[in-house]
């Protein structure tokens, strides 16, 4: 869902990008295709100083990334209006905030606000446990041979707690005091849901 909304905003941003160039009326117009990677646009500037005329070409510094829909916000997720729209499955979004060994990047570098940083950290955790980030494994020391695992890893998704920290629920309790099994995370309870059913966190 996050990929869909981001790509839509990218397309509208590119359209406004092109219309801006046509309106500015530069001396040299370079045809802007629907590509996000464009060279910096140049325009020719004539300056007359007495008897000398200086003609120079100036490259306008243009960033390759199109304008986000909400550029005045501080947090990058609010800039792209993705507040309650991403989940643990949106790996393209989550992979931008993680290191190559799977850890999160610090907040002071990415510029995320505290709430979004924790939400993304939770989603990254869930994605790691679901096996959606196979290339972001921790680096093992050289010459280290991993022990052969007796059991194949079990498939799981939306795991809130780590696998080794959880104990089995031997006494489930009666209906009015049942010990529930938590699924997902309450930090993501404000996510947009298209449908009548609410989000069940306690199964």
């Amino acid at each position: 869902m996050a990929t869909r909304s981001v790509l839509q905003s990218v397309r509208t941003a590119l359209r406004s990008f092109q219309s801006d160039f046509i309106q500015k009326g530069l001396f040299q117009r370079i045809a802007v295709l629907g590509n996000a990677q464009t060279r910096g646009l140049r325009h020719v500037v004539e300056q007359k100083e007495g008897k000398t005329t200086i003609i120079e070409g100036v490259i306008e510094p243009t960033s390759e990334v199109p304008q986000p829909p909400n550029p005045t916000a501080k947090c990058p997720i609010y800039r792209w209006n993705l507040q309650n729209k991403y989940n643990y499955t949106d790996v393209l979004l989550l992979s931008q905030f993680i290191r190559s060994d799977g850890g999160m990047l610090p907040r002071r570098i990415t510029g995320l606000c505290a709430h979004e940083h924790t939400k993304i950290a939770i989603c990254v955790q869930m994605a790691h446990r679901a096996g959606l980030l196979p290339d972001h494994r921790p680096r093992l020391p050289e010459g280290h041979v991993p022990k052969p695992k007796p059991n194949p890893p079990l498939n799981r998704y939306l795991t809130r707690y780590s696998v080794k920290s959880v104990n089995p629920i031997y006494k489930k309790g009666l209906k009015w005091c049942k010990k529930r099994m938590p699924v997902g995370h309450p930090a993501l309870k404000n996510n947009i849901r298209y449908g009548p059913k609410p989000l069940y966190i306690r199964h």
Binding site: P66, P76, T89, I109, L132, P134, T159, V166
Partner: protein, 150 residues
């Protein structure tokens, strides 16, 4: 159902069909509800509890079933043999380890009419995205100039 031809609809309601479900990366509870509906015959408009109108369902890839949350460790299947000291409790992980998977015999493969759609949409891993898709996704934040180590 209205898009099926009359003969196909007639076969589907009155004949005993064989369905196939792929349980890879699916929650077992949802697979079980889908199976039970079809085994009872509740997906047919001529359902009656006394009539024997259920269909056959073959579930494959049960070894790769996926539980949501921490249910592999937390869910406990309890049973009692009736004899004293016969209370058995197994976690879902232990239950899963017990069962074995078998190869589908050819006679069943010939009879299968329909494959049912999976209840849960399988999310894509990062390695399954093409380089073009990854390039099309814009970078949300600009790293500072002196930043390295990514």
């Amino acid at each position: 159902m209205s898009s099926y031809s009359r003969s196909a609809q007639q076969w589907a309601t009155f004949a005993r069909s064989w369905f196939l479900i792929d349980a890879r990366l699916q929650p077992p509870g949802k697979i079980a509800t889908m199976c039970s509906v079809r085994l009872q015959g509740k997906h047919k408009p001529i359902y009656h509890p006394l009539s024997d109108i259920g269909d056959h369902v073959v579930v494959m890839n049960t070894k790769h079933i996926a539980f949501s949350g921490n249910k592999w460790e937390q869910k406990v299947y309890s049973s009692h043999t009736g004899y004293p000291g016969g209370f058995k409790q197994l976690t879902a992980a232990q239950m899963h380890k017990k069962d074995t998977t078998a190869v589908l015999p050819e006679d069943i493969l010939k009879n299968l009419t329909e494959e049912l759609p999976q209840p849960r949409e399988i999310p894509r891993k990062l390695s399954e995205y093409t380089q073009e898709e990854r390039n099309a996704f814009p970078m949300l934040w600009t790293p500072p100039e002196d930043f390295r180590m990514k």
